[in-house]
């Protein structure tokens, strides 16, 4: 019996010939990513032995730059830990910092064909790189850092084949909102993406879709490799060894679906749930908003900032609305600055923050007050996610969010893409 990409990667990392749904795979971890949150003084236990410091990266993102003494304390503990064990990949506040999954992408840390773990649920973001990346819990991280291993209960795999190409103004976020709205969740399943249309998606678009796999409750989310991936890895992580993994022709899938990218339209998810909650933008058009947010590990890429800048260029954010834009990494921030996107956004009245989880998690730099309404291009719209439990969060693509910020109400971005060719 053939294996899916997930099964093949887990089998290789577990040094076994075959892995199938229902198995518990115990595998070698190629990359273990710790966050500022990992060093919470209340939860932190002292690590006495690190299996391999070269396989560990520490990336500060959830509370950065430290807005509280406690956040600062986490960072202090993390720095001491990195120094003690000689962990070189410490992405501290400064030029190389960013949201962990975005730094992993920028730096090519998610090696194709390998296993990566991190104590954050959106770690499947690394699946854009043909890597079996998975969010785990704090104790799993201790296990991975000290023993070099992780266990996974292997689930079945759902496969999506893309055909065609997105129309202008339709983005990877809309692919996600379509899948989540039409097919619902993939609880305890892996999700794999491929098909002849896959290569039309930019690496950044794949990152958005892989990251959002968490909201489908998927375990691993893995894209097939292609030439664009190989070029990207060579540029971002020169010299790194990796193994491109394709599914076997006779791999068994729980379900297999084809999606015609050319048929998709922009969608918006209604507040409080992402799954089975998508509607056409026109169905919520006119809904007044207080805040518009573009950022997070899913939508803080250079592509997202480019789209936002394109939409707001020469225009103004509506009176009474806050448009907050958070690049995924400081490197992306610098690239957006060079490309002129940051200036365009600032001139339109947006606030551009440093790279942080910030508003996405209702932590800082854009927390919602009671009864406020936000439209977000980030990962989650759960009740209370971005602030007060009475606030309401709609979710859309960066284009839809930017257009809504200009109008002051949820609105379609279609007019800004008229005449564009896909």
């Amino acid at each position: 019996m053939g294996m899916t990409m997930t099964e093949k990667i887990l089998a290789r990392a577990g040094k076994t010939a075959q892995v199938k749904p229902g198995d518990v795979a115990v595998v070698d971890v190629a990359t273990a990513v710790l966050l500022d949150m990992s060093f919470l003084p209340e939860g932190w236990v002292e690590i006495l032995k690190v299996h391999d410091p070269n396989k560990v990266a520490i990336i500060y993102d959830h509370m950065v730059p430290a807005p509280t003494i406690q956040a600062a304390t986490c960072q202090t503990i993390g720095r001491a830990f990195a120094a003690k064990f000689g962990i070189e990949r410490l992405h501290d506040v400064g030029a190389e910092q960013g949201i962990a999954h975005a730094v992993v992408a920028d730096r090519g840390y998610a090696l194709p064909g390998s296993v990566l773990v991190c104590a954050d649920s959106h770690t499947c973001a690394g699946g854009a790189f043909n890597c079996a990346a998975r969010g785990v819990g704090g104790p799993d991280m201790l296990y991975a850092v000290t023993t070099g291993k992780a266990w996974f209960k292997v689930g079945e795999t759902a496969r999506y084949d893309f055909i065609g190409k997105l129309k202008p103004g339709v983005s990877a976020k809309d692919i996600f909102l379509t899948i989540a709205g039409t097919h619902g969740a993939h609880v305890n399943q892996n999700v794999e993406y491929g098909g002849p249309g896959m290569s039309s998606l930019s690496i950044n678009g794949r990152r958005t879709l892989a990251t959002m796999g968490t909201e489908l409750s998927a375990d691993f989310v893995i894209f097939e490799p292609d030439d664009a991936l190989v070029d990207y890895m060579r540029e971002r992580n020169p010299g790194a060894a990796f193994e491109l993994t394709k599914p076997d022709a006779d791999a068994a899938y729980a379900v297999r679906r084809t999606i015609d990218l050319g048929s998709l339209e922009p969608l918006v998810a209604l507040p409080d749930a992402v799954v089975n909650n998508s509607v056409k933008v026109s169905q919520v058009a006119g809904q007044k908003i207080d805040q518009a947010f573009i950022g997070s590990c899913a939508n803080g890429t250079l592509d997202d900032l480019a789209v936002a800048a394109k939409v707001v260029k020469g225009r103004k954010v509506a009176k009474g609305v806050r448009l907050i834009v958070t690049p995924g990494t400081q490197a992306t921030f610098r690239a957006a600055l060079k490309a002129g996107y940051v200036e365009t956004l600032l001139e339109a009245g947006a606030v551009v923050t440093p790279a942080t989880c910030g508003a996405c998690i209702g932590g800082h730099m854009g927390v919602l007050g009671p009864n406020e309404v936000c439209i977000t291009a980030s990962t989650r719209n759960f009740k209370g996610r971005m602030g007060d439990p009475s606030s309401r969060v709609f979710m859309g693509s960066p284009a839809t969010v930017a257009a809504s910020a200009l109008a002051g109400t949820i609105t379609s971005a279609a007019e800004f893409f008229q005449g564009d060719v896909s």
Partner: protein, 174 residues
Amino acid sequence: MNDRRNEQPLLAKKVWKLGDNINTDLMLPGPYLYRTPEEQARAVFMNNRPGWVDAVQQGDAIVGGYNYGMGSSRPAARSLRNCGVGFLLAEALNGLFFRNSVNYGLLAFECPGVSKAFEEGDQAELSIERWEARNPRTGQTLAVTPVPDMLLSIMRGGGVLPLLEQQGLIRRKA
């Protein structure tokens, strides 16, 4: 460790019924992420069931619906354990929540049909020996989906931290 013949079923005096898609933000709200485990345990369900933490008793059971524990990797399972939850049965558990349940020593299992078989306030019995849940009020028995032995022993041993400690890999605070 895995010899489970002669085990008494666990008895929960009270079942708390939560619905489908209970997410980790509900069990451990964002503003409490940086608080102590004790403070976190006081915040469980504050947005969907205010007052629950005062009403729940040691050994009570949670009966959940579909995709219980969806959301983030935050230690929501630890909060439930710290609230005294004896065991949790759900139609389907989110994979990440299940990992955390294993690793923090919360007995959390999948039990198809459970949300129909129990009403809030019922008692509940769980036999890990027989992989069975029973409602004493109705006499109905349901199959509980077995968990592989390796994971069950971590779960029942109080989680992964005691394991790493025994191996001299970590030191926990006294």
